[in-house]
Amino acid sequence: MKDSITRSELINILAAQFEGSELSKSDISLSVREIINHMSATIANGDRIEIRGFGSFTLRQRNPRMGRNPKTGEPVPLGAKYAPHFKPGKDLKEQVKDKVGT
């Protein structure tokens, strides 16, 4: 493990799976882009994405807090932060769990 595939490799794998269908490689590449763009906008908007068997994405808020300038020690207010969060679905979680060490 530890190696990753890239977006273009994923597109190639998808293209191989759709070979012989009506979908061209540019349809596939455009579809991947549309899915990613729509998912990004959804998360950024604070809405939730739920893909059954895969997982869900939400936007989590970290509360505003007082920080400090490390040089002067002066308190600095830090605004609320938002970060996307992915929770693997039950299927994915259960199936990947036992692959440990492989």
């Binding site: 990753s4 890239t6 998808l14 979908l23 060490g101």
Partner: protein, 102 residues
């Protein structure tokens, strides 16, 4: 109030924006997530530029506890999927967060 986006909504986007027919759109969305899942199960991370990276992490076994009965049960070694949002997604979130708080 938040809405939840599902595979059906993503398929609708592909129908509207890419011009896939409804059957192709819905099949593509399913195959897209199944393919990412298959890569993760095969021990490969998936990097989706513009969105983020799905990474695999192996966790050692550790002592756990049933919070109700306080009974000690070891938590077995396992592999988990983590999502690390990319810069572009983080920037998109910043922009939306800014417009929300003003």
């Amino acid at each position: 109030m938040t809405d939840t986006v599902t595979k059906t909504d993503l398929a609708e986007i592909l129908y509207m924006e890419v011009g896939l027919n409804k059957r192709e759109a819905s099949e593509f969305v399913s195959v897209f997530f199944e393919t990412i899942k298959a890569q993760l199960l095969a021990g490969h991370g998936v990097k989706l530029s513009g969105f983020g990276n799905f990474e695999l992490r192996d966790k050692k076994s550790r002592p756990g506890r049933n919070p109700k009965t306080l009974e000690e049960i070891p938590i077995s070694a396992r592999r988990v999927v983590a999502f690390k949002p990319g810069q572009k997604l983080r920037n998109t979130i910043e922009t939306y967060a800014g417009s929300r708080s003003q």
